[in-house]
Every structure is written in C-alpha cells, then in structure tokens.
C-alpha cells in the first residue's frame, strides 16, 4: 500500500443544473498527509469536500477513497462515511442531544457498537478536545468554539481514516478560533489524514504538507506551503494572497 494515495481525485467535474462549479480537479493525498485548500469564496472548495463525502454526486471524473469508488452508482455510502469524517463551518450539532450524546450516538446507531463502549470512547474524545467538564451540556449552552470542538470529536468517534474540515473557524472570534486550530494541529501531528479548507493562511503554512489554490472550479496552483506562500508562480494566486495576507 505504501506510496499508494489514500484519496485519489481524478478529473472531477461538477455542475448544478447549468452552473459549472468544478471544472477539472485532480488531487492525490497520501496517508498522514495534511492538505490545505485555499481560494476565493465561490471557487468550489466546499463542493469538492462534499463530493469526496458523497453528499453531492460528481458529474464526471472519479474519486477513490481507500479503494472505495465514490462515484460508483452502487456506492455503499455507509462504508464510505465510516472512513471519511467532515466538520462544517456551522457546527451542526444536534441541538436536542448533549455533547456526549452527540459524540456517542453515531457509533451506537450507525456502527452498532455497545452503549458502554461508545460512551467511554466519547469521554476520551471529549478529554482530547479539552471539554470533559461539558459532557452533559446541550449545544445551545456551549460557545461556538466549544461546539466546533464537540463536532470534531463527533466525527472522530467514527474512527475515520480522513477528516475534512470546511472553514471550521470562519464563524468564530479570534480567541475561540485558536482552541479549534490547536485541536486540528494536534490531530494532524498525530498522523490523521486531513483535508482542510481555510482562510487562516498562517495556520495553513504551519500545518499543511501540501497547499492547493483553487479559483473558478480549477486548481490554479499547488505545492508545498513555501512554494505557494513565498514563491507563487501564478498571478491569480499572488493577487489572492496579497488580498488576504
């Protein structure tokens, strides 16, 4: 398996009705890698993550995640989603369940794990995101940053091979942003494969192994953080970076 990419995205195209959102996207992500996707809003970053997770079907091209052909019409979505966790900008915790229930429920309901074991694991994950004391709080009683960390723990509870993060800090204030970014950094350091859409360029250059710049549904430029942030070749990349930096 060594050298074989964990995720292989090959000439993916996606359009909604008549609007083309992804034109021609190809990526290879190996195990343990942390890939960052940056680019102006509307360039299709969220759509790409949703395609990887089969929340939306691709129009053309192929996506393979750990041997699972995502664009197969007979795709076993459950098998795919056990391997892929996703965290959204708007936390999307279930408001009627406590923090620990949010984390434990999918392993119980979807994977059929025993209750005891799932709750024990949920407690460990809460400790990992440093929220042990909030186990019995409802999402409405938590700050944005805390909710986001519970959402990360909820995804981790499924033991995914890869985690997708879609602008998870965009709705947070600078203080709480840090808590979430530290959590993600620790995850990446432990060797979790991550695909990260973010506007935090400092963070991206710190944790990323590979940076992709997208615009207009295409990957305009990609390379190591140094390649992109210090020596971008493409004018559009440079223009974008000069705006956000």
């Amino acid at each position: 398996m060594l050298g074989q990419p964990l995720i292989e995205i090959d000439h993916v195209e996606k359009s909604f009705h008549n609007t083309v959102v992804l034109r021609d996207i190809s990526m290879k992500i190996t195990k343990g890698e942390c890939a960052c996707i940056i680019g102006p809003s509307g360039s299709g970053k969220s759509t790409l993550l949703r395609c990887i997770n089969a929340l939306v079907p691709v129009s053309r091209g192929s996506i393979i995640v750990d041997g699972i052909q995502v664009n197969d019409p007979n795709l076993d979505k459950l098998a795919l989603r056990r391997k892929v966790g996703i965290v959204f900008q708007q936390y999307n915790l279930f408001p009627h369940k406590t923090a620990i229930q949010n984390i434990a429920m999918a392993p119980i309901n979807v994977l059929g794990r025993p209750k005891e074991e799932s709750y024990e694991r949920a407690r460990q994950l809460l400790a990992k995101v440093k929220l042990s004391e909030k186990a019995d709080a409802y999402p409405g009683e938590l700050s944005g940053g805390q909710q986001q960390r519970v959402a990360i723990a909820r995804s981790l509870a499924m033991n995914p091979l890869v985690m997708l993060f879609d602008e998870v800090t965009a709705a947070l204030d600078p203080e709480t942003k840090k808590e979430v970014l530290f959590t993600i950094r620790d995850l990446a350091a432990e060797g979790m494969t991550c695909i990260l859409v973010t506007h935090e360029m400092g963070f991206a250059s710190e944790v990323a192994d590979h940076v992709y710049f997208t615009d207009g549904g295409m990957i305009v430029e990609s390379g190591t953080p140094t390649d992109i942030f210090k020596a971008a070749q493409n004018d559009r990349t440079r223009a974008f970076l000069s705006q956000v930096l």
């Binding site: 009627h96 999402p139 009683e141």
Partner: protein
C-alpha cells in the same frame, strides 16, 4: 361528600330560582356526566387519530411519488376550506348512504358506523388536514445543515428522520399543534347536529326538561373553558418537558 354541595344548590334553586339541577338531580347529573364522558372520549379519539393523519400525511408529502404528494395536498386544501359541519353531514348522510347496512338482533337495519363513529372520522380528518400542514412546516423548519451532518455520519434516510428530523420538528410544531387540538375539542360540539350524546346534546336534553337554559349555558361554557384549560395546561407542560437548554427554535 357530594351531599353538602347538592343541598346548597337545592337551596339556591328554591330561594333564588337558579336551577342547577345537575348538582342535585340524579337523573340530570347522570346525563350530564355521560355527556362529559362522551365529549372527552370523542376528543381523545380525535386527537389521537388526527395526529396519525397528520404524521402519515406529512410523510406522504415528502414522498418521491408525485401522485402521493398531489393527493395529500388536495386532501389538505379540501378539508381546510370547507365547513366542518357540512363535512360531518357529508359523511353521516352521504357517505354512509353508500355503505351496506347490518341487520341487528331485532331484525332492524343498522348502519355499519354509527353517529359517534362518523363524528370521530369526520373531525379526525378535519383536524388531521391542519396537522399535516403543521408537521410539514415543522419538518421544513429543520435546517438542512442538520440533516446533512447526520448524513455524513452515515445515518440512513429513515434514521435521519427518526433521530434528527422528527425530534427537532416536533418541538417546533408543538405550539401550533396545541392550538389545533384546542380547536378540535371545541369542534366536537358539532356532533350535536347528528345526535351524538356529547356534552352539548346532553345539556340540551336537560334544559328542555328542567327549563333551566340560562343555568345550563353558564355551566356549559365554564365546563368547556375548563376542558380547554386542562388541555392547554397539559400541552404547556409537555412543551416545558421537551425544552432544550439554550436552544431557540
């Protein structure tokens, strides 16, 4: 224990002419309590069935089958925009005229469904049409982001419905559902028109014998307002028990 109350109302009747016969006349009392019992039974049966109609209808409106969606929408519009009294007459006189009759033990022809049965059917469909709309708008008010999060955790469509959509939608619906159920209880009085011996009918029997229309009217209004108050109280309690800390629907 009832004795002093009965004596006091007797005294009220003989000295002030306020004839609350229900409190001291055995026959009237039985009639009234039977009527109350029928009203409560009718209400509970209709509440249960109308919620069933609402759930099934809301489920059909989300169906992939176009015919099911159109059929449900037409059902809702029809029952919402026609008088419940005419609906009742439609079922009791028109629809039942199409059904075969049974021969009872005395050899007489008896309808398969009696007047109480038709009242239950008619009011349940009427209130059910409103419940369909209420449940559907509750389901639509659940953010799609929430269902998407569940989907990406690997839940099936049915699990998403059961574990995420229904619990949240139900909390959103509860106030409007409560209103509709209050209306339903008030609507049960229409069963009077087809001779179901519910509270209003029983009271009319009493006042035509005892000639105490005024007193019975006051008693009736108080009884109905009390019934509604009990229902409202129960619904509020239910709402409170389902309230999620920190969550604003």
């Amino acid at each position: 224990m009832m004795e002093p109350i009965a004596r006091w109302f007797k005294w009220l009747s003989s000295t002030h002419g306020l004839n609350y016969s229900v409190f001291f006349d055995n026959y009237d009392q039985t009639l009234f309590l039977k009527g109350l019992q029928t009203t409560i039974f009718l209400s509970l049966a209709c509440i249960f069935l109308s919620i069933m109609v609402g759930l099934i209808g809301a489920w059909l409106q989300g169906s992939r089958l176009r015919a099911a969606r159109i059929g449900t929408a037409m059902f809702v519009q029809f029952f919402r925009n026609t008088p419940p009294l005419v609906q009742l007459a439609f079922f009791y006189y028109a629809v039942s005229s199409l059904l075969p009759t049974l021969t009872d033990q005395f050899g007489a022809q008896a309808p398969i469904i009696n007047n109480l049965g038709w009242a239950i059917i008619s009011f349940s469909l009427f209130a059910g049409a409103f419940n369909i709309e209420i449940f559907r708008s509750g389901i639509e008010a659940v953010p799609t982001a929430m269902t998407e999060a569940a989907e990406s955790l690997g839940y099936t469509r049915f699990q998403i419905y059961r574990i995420v959509v229904v619990p949240i939608a139900f909390r959103i619906c509860l106030p409007s559902l409560g209103n509709n159920l209050v209306n339903l209880v008030k609507t049960t009085t229409l069963a009077y028109a087809i001779g179901v011996p519910e509270l209003l009918y029983a009271s009319a029997q009493i006042w035509s014998e005892a000639m105490n229309v005024r007193e019975m009217m006051v008693l009736l209004l108080i009884t109905y307002v009390a019934l509604v108050a009990v229902l409202v109280g129960l619904m509020q309690r239910w709402e409170r028990s389902l309230r999620i800390p920190g969550y604003i629907a």
